[in-house]
Symmetry: C2
Subunit: 399 residues, 2 copies
């Protein structure tokens, strides 16, 4: 008997692989002689191919955004909250494409792939890829799928940066840009945290200059630490307080939520884990390290650091946005301290200066940067009603 | 010819060592069979011994708070901005005592000291010390110096936590408590960052389970990384932006300060340092790692995590503060996101509930947590006028 999925779930999904023989010249000047992109699709492409939505993933994301890979799969895709029949990105209306970016480690060509010219792992020889390179490769995937123009390109965090790049680089191929919890470029603090993550990985004795797969190992501790640092920046202080302070009667009988729950009820007076928050972060970091390639992590953080769409326009983001012809939905979350609302408001200001059609939604939410992945009613409602209008538009265009 | 110091500098200072034969039982239940505390003093103790101020240091601080150790010394003590003739802590008025805490690595007994019972480095066998243990050992130092009651106990950050503990544990021995940029206890986020720092150290291949000195090495990379993480949390996002964005014409011709100055003018498209902020943090981390003991760093972070003066009072901080009989000055800084003003306001609220005499100063400052070390006019003025009143009080008491 087959498993029953909820009616708003896309169900079992089979990833596909697109192979490209073409040479792709990257922003760095280096090039790739052919590459694979793994992707999934949800919903049906209409006959005019006008209802396609592209999902761009964030630092540790992949192509598996919705549904399940098998009947026994315990975990659904990373954006299952937002993608499915009747959900914000409604698969009854849209044909949704979600890919793993170049340099990734979930099936697309990346450092953990075999370099066909050497027969060995790319490892540290895989070239640095930028947001622009990703978007160029996504445009090649669009061609292969026969999608001339996306009804919308959508992404959160690093995904939102790809959305901005789409709007600027391919104005004729995107109708709506939906950019969530992003920033026009990283701040010094953002870069600093990324550098800490990179150092943790490259300092690991098992990193072997990036050739750890050849040595049949991987920098587990370093990757774990990098993820722990990242994880802290994804959560708000108050969200961590609530998450790890639910039962904190020892420290917080007053009901304050400082997240000081102890793991075993007493202090160790040693260097073992004392607080739940430590054990949680370690556990999450460890799980992550078992499933993610360290060289990919390095690449993704550099893509973040380098992102600056204003760079070709004398540093003037408004001029960059003048290239765009799509409409924009920008969303941010009040307690996001990685890319705070102020950074989204910068995007909005430059879009206004460039006289673009924009909607901006700043959502009160306690969950920090991670909010874009969560079922926060005002967020989901705003997201859903915007895309409902997009669907109306394309239906009336077709009529 | 001897070096001329500015008239508001305490000049050349010789550290002293106090040896204690007494056994000190620690909060963990373990005990130390005798120990040393290294300290410095500035100014003169008056005949009634009523003008003494104790300085409590923060995580990476030591006893060398003001002046110089030699004529050729390039760097003055860590709080030279605030301690000296005519400064906020005016050595024309006060006798200032500053010590290196137990477990430290600047001369007081700590993990890098020789354990007299084994003839070997304590290393990881040095017991976990808490803020309470420090304050108890500071009280023993007070006895040795013949100081029955401190005119004030003063500290920032972890130093401010020692100030609170003094007020609660030794109400009869403290006239004024000056607690700057502190918190009543750490949040889950604070603890999480400390755990990342500890993991970076203990993961280092040169940590050797804490016995690195026996192996004639030290966990340089790990300590460097721990310091980098700490350093990020000491600075505000905007302060980092200004600090590393001064010449950022490439990225910020509009004069925005996002701190994206490049180190060499171009992107490397590799994993070398690209941005000034990375190279600065690495340099600072490296310097720190050469001068600080890794086991001490572990101890200090645990003392922070464990600090919770309400713990003996059913978690009710007001009840803890009811024990105190001193007056309080609490100060916080607007952009401090390690211990934000909201955390100082908690302290204030609980002090009000306990009906204590308090002054609270929330200072607009761009420099984040580090503000307490910097010459910010409103801060220095408030600090100075408070202590001027303290001096008036004790002069009129004497009259």
């Amino acid at each position: 008997m087959s498993r029953q999925f909820p009616s708003d779930n896309v169900g079992i999904i089979k990833p596909q692989t697109a192979h490209f023989d073409e040479e792709l010249t990257l922003r760095s000047g280096k090039s790739l002689n052919g590459f694979d992109l793994v992707f999934e699709t949800y919903g049906e492409l209409n006959s005019s191919k006008s209802n396609a939505i592209l999902i761009c993933h964030a630092l540790s994301g992949d192509h598996h955004a919705a549904g399940y890979h098998s009947e026994s799969d315990a975990k659904s895709g990373w954006w299952d909250t937002c993608i499915g029949p009747g959900k914000a990105i409604d698969t009854n209306h849209f044909f949704v494409v979600s890919l793993n970016n170049l340099g990734g480690c979930a099936g697309s060509t990346g450092p953990a792939s075999i370099d066909p010219t050497t027969g060995k792992y790319f490892g540290p020889d895989f070239p640095v890829v930028t947001v622009r390179d990703w978007v160029n490769s996504q445009a090649m995937l669009s061609d292969k799928l026969g999608i001339q123009k996306w009804a919308a390109v959508v992404g959160g965090s690093l995904g939102g940066m790809q959305v901005m790049r789409w709007a600027i680089s391919y104005p004729e191929r995107i109708e709506h840009a939906i950019c969530i919890a992003a920033a026009p470029k990283l701040s010094a603090q953002n870069i600093a945290f990324n550098e800490v993550a990179r150092q943790s990985i490259t300092n690991d004795a098992n990193f072997h200059g990036g050739r750890y797969l050849d040595a049949n190992t991987y920098p587990k501790q370093g990757l774990m630490l990098a993820r722990m640092v990242g994880h802290i920046t994804y959560l708000s202080d108050s969200a961590m307080g609530s998450k790890f302070g639910k039962d904190s009667t020892l420290f917080d009988p007053s009901g304050d939520k400082f997240g000081r729950d102890l793991r075993s009820g007493t202090l160790s007076f040693g260097f073992d884990v004392d607080f739940q928050v430590e054990s949680y972060l370690q556990y999450q970091g460890e799980r992550f390290s078992e499933n993610f390639d360290a060289n990919t992590y390095l690449l993704m953080t550099k893509a973040l650091d380098y992102f600056d769409p204003a760079i070709d326009f004398g540093g003037d983001l408004s001029r960059a946005f003048e290239q765009a012809s799509c409409k924009f939905l920008i969303m941010s979350f009040s307690t996001d301290w990685r890319f705070p609302p102020a950074r989204s408001r910068e995007i909005v200001e430059h879009l206004l200066k460039a006289k673009k059609d924009i909607s901006y939604l700043e959502i009160d939410a306690d969950q920090g940067h991670d909010s874009f992945l969560l079922p926060i009613p005002r967020y989901i409602d705003g997201f859903k009603s915007y895309l409902a209008r997009v669907f109306e538009e394309l239906s009336s265009d077709a009529a």
